[in-house]
């Protein structure tokens, strides 16, 4: 089959690889009909996530048709149309039973590697390094899905792929970012990053009853999409974000701040950006946390900082004093996608949200290398790329 493989820093290649086969009784094989490139794939592309190997199949946002199931998968059969959540979760451990699926205790065969870097291991993830399992991803014609009796959600009506594909990651991730803000009437929510996750976080904050949602980015075309989702926008290359937020909230600061940027943030002050960029390049710091620092500084006293942007390792110059002295709460996590798929599918069905609004490009899987370049460099107003493997 064809699959998009990591080929080193700034390089992916569509290669011919073996078809996947069932390895365990709870596996299923899915023939992928739509898959997407995620902003977090760029962290792999840029070489900032450790334990990648050349040839690894990428992709953790995908859906398709079940073609084969193992003997212990009773709820799916060949022909079923499914969306697959990006964290692999067994459904039986204490974490899964508490709804913390991205912390599944059984799905990462390389948990010992993750423990070295993080203390304890999170769940395995499709196409996202060997530290997180060494699972081939979904930017391919077929994928093996472990614990297929737990994760995949069946799409039994005729909703098109583009309306449901993002249930695999970015829609629930943005939603969880807003949900962690514990939004109450009158709340002002600020969202760093107007990429697809930030756009969904803004849309979710509106749906969850925020008084006002403010999206922060530097690309006008991305801010426009966030504005269509109901957000007011700030371009951090044009205004001082902290001043602007103080002004909008009459000095209080946003009640909650969402970091939908993560480890490769940009910063308008060249010296600060250069400091983190240099340390990251020298691998003295793995992550550039500008957005997170600013989200903390901006947040009102006693407010919530919600982090769904991806971090890989260590950050520098973390404003712990601001976080501690001002009684802030920081909530974080890779999305527990399985928890949100059903309620969000219902919201898609009843018209609350049509996630297709983030898509700007549709490419063949063969064009994945061009897609990664375009997405990384924000060429052609690229916001979200859907790949078709067939």
């Amino acid at each position: 089959m064809k699959a998009n493989c990591w080929a080193g820093r700034n390089k992916v290649e569509v290669r011919e690889v073996p078809d996947p086969r069932i390895l365990n009784p709870r596996d299923a094989i899915v023939r992928v009909t739509s898959t997407a490139i995620c902003g977090s794939d760029l962290h792999l592309y840029d070489g900032y996530i450790p334990t990648m190997k050349k040839g690894d199949v990428l992709g953790h946002e995908f859906m398709g048709e079940v073609v084969e199931v193992g003997p212990r998968v009773a709820n799916l059969r060949p022909g079923d149309r499914v969306v697959v959540p990006f964290p692999i979760a067994c459904g039986a451990c204490v974490a899964c039973q508490n709804g913390m699926y991205s912390l599944c205790e059984n799905s990462n065969p390389n948990a010992g590697l993750a423990e070295k870097l993080m203390g304890h291991s999170p769940a395995g993830i499709f196409g996202y390094s060997h530290m997180l399992g060494g699972y081939p991803g979904g930017q391919a014609q077929y994928v093996r899905v472990p614990f297929a009796d737990v994760g995949p959600i069946k799409i039994e009506d005729d909703l098109p792929d583009e309306k449901v594909l993002f249930l695999s990651d970015i829609l629930p991730t943005g939603w969880m970012g807003a949900e962690m803000c514990d939004i109450k009437p009158g709340d002002v929510i600020a969202v760093w990053g107007a990429g697809p996750v930030g756009q969904f976080a803004a849309a979710a904050a509106v749906l969850l009853g925020a008084e006002r949602v403010i999206s922060i980015d530097r690309f006008p075309y991305r801010l426009e999409i966030a504005a269509r989702a109901g957000a007011q926008t700030l371009n951090y290359e044009e205004v001082d974000v902290l001043d602007a937020l103080r002004d909008i909230t009459a000095g209080r600061g946003p009640d909650a701040c969402i970091d939908a940027v993560g480890m490769e943030a940009h910063y308008p002050v060249p010296a600060v950006h250069a400091y983190d960029r240099a340390k990251q390049a020298a691998r003295l710091e793995t992550d550039r946390p500008h957005a997170l620092r600013e989200a903390i500084m901006a947040c009102r006293n006693g407010g919530i900082v919600s982090v769904v942007g991806v971090y890989g390792g260590f950050v520098d110059k973390f404003p712990m004093g601001s976080l501690m002295n001002r009684s802030l709460t920081m909530k974080t996590g890779q999305c527990h996608v399985q928890r949100y798929m059903k309620p969000l599918l219902d919201r898609i069905r009843n018209g609350d949200i049509d996630p297709g609004f983030v898509i700007t490009h549709r490419l063949s899987l063969d064009d994945a290398p061009r897609g990664f370049e375009m997405f990384k460099n924000k060429e052609h107003y690229c916001n979200k790329i859907v790949l078709r493997p067939w």
């Binding site: 990648m52 459904g91 060494g134 081939p136």
Partner: protein, 198 residues
């Protein structure tokens, strides 16, 4: 990056060789490992108590055959498909609480140990604790044994426990294409590419 894996690999392999030290003289050690399994204590004890289940999660074991009187014969596969066998006996067996064993005279790897089971607080299942002492011989036999137990012994027991938890909670050992055999220290260092396996 693969270079990171390789660097970690070389460091750890060095540590393994130093730690095992079985190349020349005899070596010995003691280790402890623990894991929490989200299943009732009785069920966890019973699964372990049937020693013939052990190869399902102790991947270096080929088989364990139980015999009357608490005796058992253990077979493991070493380098070049060489089978190593030894006999062991149960020393203590307290239902739902503890099983302890020791190897019998003539075992290539003299070992003794125990596994204990206790309720995890907050209804989180069962805490499983393994303690072991082992002594490997020197010389040629020692070399074979060192290769057989070639993974860092403490890491190997932790991996065994992780697979035990997977089997108890999910009914299978989690396998990725990067680690098709499931959790295993050496494979962690020398991963297959995350591509489907032929």
């Amino acid at each position: 990056m693969s270079t990171t894996i390789n660097r970690q690999a070389h460091r750890l392999v060095g540590a393994l060789e130093r730690g095992l030290g079985g190349r020349k003289g005899p070596s010995s050690g003691a280790l402890r490992a623990a894991i929490t399994v989200n299943r009732p204590r009785r069920e966890v004890y019973r699964f372990w108590h049937d020693l013939e289940n052990l190869p399902r999660f102790m991947t270096h074991l080929e088989s364990v055959d139980t015999m009357p009187g608490g005796y058992s014969r253990w077979k493991a596969r070493g380098p070049a498909n060489r089978i190593i066998e030894w006999d062991a006996e149960i020393v203590q067996d307290r239902e739902d609480e503890l099983i302890s064993w020791r190897s019998l005279e003539g075992a290539a790897v003299r070992n003794r140990g125990s596994v204990s089971f206790s309720g995890a607080p907050g209804g989180r299942g069962t805490e499983v604790r393994v303690e072991m002492e082992y002594r490997t011989p020197g010389g040629r036999v020692g070399l074979v044994v060192a290769r057989l137990f070639g993974e860092h012994p403490a890491q190997q027991v932790r991996d065994d426990l992780r697979r035990f938890k997977q089997v108890m909670e999910t009914g299978e050992v989690a396998r990725s294409e990067g680690s098709p055999e499931g959790t295993r220290a050496l494979r962690r260092l020398f991963q297959h590419t995350a591509q489907p396996v032929r």
